[in-house]
């Protein structure tokens, strides 16, 4: 039976896809070249595999405990105190990543199109957009994701398809790039980039009961991985390793290289508008998730009074880094270390503990 004001499978799928894959618009693909050289695609496939394994284990637990989400399961498995510490870590994570994304988004806009616009103006606008989305609720954000998904998909695939004439497949070799160790370990830690896939587990009780979370999250992860993979492979073959590692926003640069005759050029200006919309939706999701986890920890009925203070905290955090290179570097370091641990490792470990504890017990049926 469908419940009102809950997300359907399509909305959740679109929300996950846009939230996780939006990072391709920023400098993230570049770092895969830095860690693995021309085997960036290999490091990325390792990162995707790691995140797939993690989300699979977490979903196994959710399957055994339908109607519950990771926040409530944390307290059940680890106890109230420790569970809430982990939950607060999640809130902290979404404050930091939200702030980093807001700043990266602002810097990317200034860097690529509006050079004379103060970055704070873009940041405030994006925060207000996110807060408005949260004010309207998950349904509005998720439906916006679903409606805009075809446009965003086109904006991702058009540059990839049009760039094929520039592809030089031999640039993907030597196979192991910077070396087996760098590619393997670099790829494992880089799984933090895909950490937002944990949203499935966090929003599990905001989803219609009949939605198969495992199916949605795994398929969203695979499609996101494919998008990332295509972007990285295309960049490898067009710009090649030594150059691609030092291009600030690789996908934007790829779109700028497109030129067909004298009639099809400067496509990035059209595509960029859609990218901006995708990034704004991601910011809304980041803000919404942080508030959602906070609400559940402290059992707050109405989150609306929290919105403005939360937005103020995000803006204050986002404005702290001195420059774009600083925020760019820190976002990558954060994603690979704390982000990786908080979004993938901890939930997986907790899920494993939970599964061991539940071993032998019967599967709980979802509340009607």
């Amino acid at each position: 039976m469908r419940k009102s004001n809950r997300l359907g499978a399509q909305e959740l799928y679109a929300l996950l896809l846009i939230t996780v894959s939006s990072l391709v618009y920023f400098s993230t693909p570049r770092y895969f070249f830095l860690i693995a050289g021309n085997a960036a695609w290999l490091a990325l496939s390792i990162a995707i595999s790691v995140s797939l394994i993690c989300i699979f284990i977490v979903n196994l637990l959710l399957k055994r405990r339908p109607g519950q989400n990771l926040i409530s399961l944390n307290t059940q498995i680890l106890g109230t105190w420790l569970g809430n510490v982990v939950n607060m870590l999640l809130v902290g994570h979404y404050v930091v990543t939200g702030a980093l994304i807001i700043r990266l988004f602002g810097e990317a806009i200034v860097l690529t199109s509006l050079r004379s616009l103060p970055v704070s103006v873009i940041m405030i606008t994006s925060v207000l957009f996110g807060l408005y989305g949260c004010y309207k609720g998950w349904n509005v954000i998720a439906k916006s994701c679903w409606i805009s998904l075809p446009f965003i998909a086109l904006s991702v695939f058009i540059p990839l398809v049009l760039a094929w004439t520039y592809w030089e497949p031999s640039y993907l070799l030597p196979f192991f790039g910077k070396g087996v160790d760098d590619t393997l370990f670099g790829g494992v830690f880089a799984a933090g980039v895909m950490g937002d896939i944990i949203l499935t587990a966090l929003l599990a009780n905001a989803v219609q009961p009949q939605v198969n979370l495992m199916k949605v999250s795994i398929s969203a992860m695979i499609v996101t991985g494919l998008i990332f993979m295509l972007v990285v492979v295309a960049n490898s073959m067009v710009n090649s390793y030594p150059v691609a590692a030092y291009i600030t926003i690789p996908y934007f640069s790829l779109a700028r290289t497109l030129s067909f005759g004298r009639f099809l050029e400067r496509l990035e200006s059209v595509i960029f508008i859609i990218w901006v919309f995708a990034a704004l939706l991601k910011i809304a999701v980041m803000i919404g998730t942080g508030i959602y986890v906070y609400k559940q920890i402290f059992n707050i009925a109405d989150t609306k009074p929290l919105l403005l203070p939360y937005g103020a905290i995000l803006m204050t955090t986002a404005i702290m880094p001195k420059s774009f290179p600083v925020v760019d570097k820190w976002s990558w370091i954060y994603m690979r270390s704390f982000g990786f641990v908080i979004t993938l490792i901890l939930p997986t470990l907790i899920a494993l503990i939970g599964l061991i504890k539940l071993r032998g017990k019967q599967e709980v049926k979802a509340q009607p």
Partner: protein, 442 residues
């Protein structure tokens, strides 16, 4: 509430319509650079030149209205001595009175002198900036680059930006040069260690003739004209008497600036400048540029002339076009590497002086052999020249990447050194497909 929301939405959507004012810059307050030139400086590292169109004049000429008659050129060519392009723009702004923008820059011309020293410091800042696009076309000028743009006066086009676009596309017709966008050049150079940029130069003979014509105060009298014609006839007769016949020289055997011609725009675009790492190491003529395009699978068509094998005093012009993509293999042959090149070229007859000699299938095979020999010689010569420079512009080394596991192993291998000593074998197959609408002569 709904009305307010609708108003707010409309206002927000309306912001998109103001995108032209994002930088608080109006088009008629901006000077758009079409061409940038880099020369070696005397007081500073570079002399950077810009060609800026005067929109009011350009529009009038393009609209085919009468030229204003005030004598002003439709382009402003300026040059400043400075350390960087960014500084050069500021300096240019000091006397243009408009904000100088590179948004529409289509061509970058670098002088050979500068290119032979280093091109790295020129290319990197160009890629870093937002205004210059990676698709901007690169050219190397034999001689001063700024003088080159001063003398470049296309006759069929008013817009030099369009002119350069058309020139770059012409390589599909003749294959005697190539089009090299900035991003492709930089990426190829960084990855493969060697790359090319098309060559261009002023044709001094044409220029001198044009200047002399400008200086002539009055038209020639009838007597003077008759005198000139008589002298020309005499020289032709003398040549016939001595039995001298100009040697068969292909169009592609010229370098820019040396094409024997008169009239027209006094600049030539033919051949390639070869780069190894960040330095220009040599030049290739049109035939070698053709080979480059063939081996890079970038060849569309061209025209070549060959001597009739059994009648060497007669020539046949043929249209060559791609039969199949090139097959290239690079193998480790123990002490050195072996590069095998197989090219399949299709051709049609274009102009034949004595068609009756090529009616038989055997004579067609003779022609194919002549084409094969000609191309084989060009391919071998070109590869051998690039081997001397250690510059693998054809990307042969890319075929060896799969033999290495890591990037470090690959870079330590030093392909450019191995390339110098590689053994090259070339197999050309020419297939004469069509003989034209006339198969023989009576």
């Amino acid at each position: 509430m709904k009305g307010r929301f609708a108003l707010l939405t409309l206002l927000l959507l309306g912001v998109n319509l103001l995108s032209g004012c994002a930088g608080i810059g109006e088009i008629d307050e901006t000077a758009f650079v079409f061409t940038i030139t880099f020369d070696k400086g005397e007081k500073a590292p570079y002399q950077i030149g810009t060609r800026i169109p005067v929109p009011r004049l350009l529009g009038r000429i393009q609209g085919q209205l009468a030229f204003s008659g005030d004598g002003q050129e439709p382009y402003i060519n300026t040059q400043v001595q400075t350390h960087s392009l960014a500084e050069a723009l500021v300096m240019t702004q000091l006397f243009t009175g408009r904000e100088v923008s590179l948004d529409h820059a289509r061509t970058i011309i670098i002088s050979e002198d500068l290119a032979r020293e280093s091109i790295e410091d020129v290319c990197q800042p160009l890629l870093r900036g937002l205004e210059i696009r990676g698709t901007t076309l690169l050219y190397i000028s034999r001689g001063n680059a700024f003088r080159f743009i001063n003398e470049n006066k296309p006759l069929l086009e008013v817009n030099t930006s369009k002119f350069i676009e058309l020139v770059s596309r012409e390589q599909n017709v003749h294959g005697l040069t190539t089009a090299m966008p900035l991003n492709l050049f930089y990426s190829t150079l960084a990855t493969e260690g060697a790359a090319v940029i098309p060559l261009a130069a002023i044709n001094e003979t044409v220029l001198a003739a044009a200047k002399a014509k400008e200086r002539e105060p009055t038209a020639l009298t009838k007597d003077e004209q008759a005198d000139r014609e008589a002298k020309a006839e005499m020289s032709e007769e003398q040549a016939e008497e001595t039995g001298e016949k100009p040697p068969l020289r292909s169009v592609g055997s010229y370098l820019p600036g040396s094409i024997p011609r008169s009239g027209g725009n006094p600049i030539d675009f033919i051949g390639l400048a070869v780069f190894r790492n960040d330095k220009m190491v040599g030049v290739l003529d049109g035939n070698s540029a053709l080979v480059y395009n063939m081996l890079r699978n970038n060849f569309h068509r061209t025209i070549i002339s060959v001597k009739m094998p059994r009648h060497p005093d007669e020539t046949v012009s043929l249209l060559l076009y791609k039969g199949r993509p090139p097959r290239i293999r690079v193998e480790d042959a123990g002490t050195r590497y072996k590069i095998s090149v197989e090219l399949v070229i299709d051709c049609d007859m274009e102009t034949v002086s004595t068609g009756d000699r090529i009616r038989s299938v055997e004579s067609l095979r003779d022609l194919e052999t002549a084409v094969e020999k000609q191309l084989q010689q060009w391919v071998e010569t070109t590869i051998s020249m690039t081997q001397e420079w250690g510059a693998d512009i054809f990307g042969f080394g890319n075929r060896l990447r799969s033999a290495f596991l890591t990037w470090d192993e690959w870079t330590r291998f030093n392909w450019s050194e191995a390339y110098k000593h590689a053994e090259v074998s070339v197999v050309i197959t020419a297939n004469l497909r069509r003989t034209g609408l006339i198969i023989g002569t009576y």
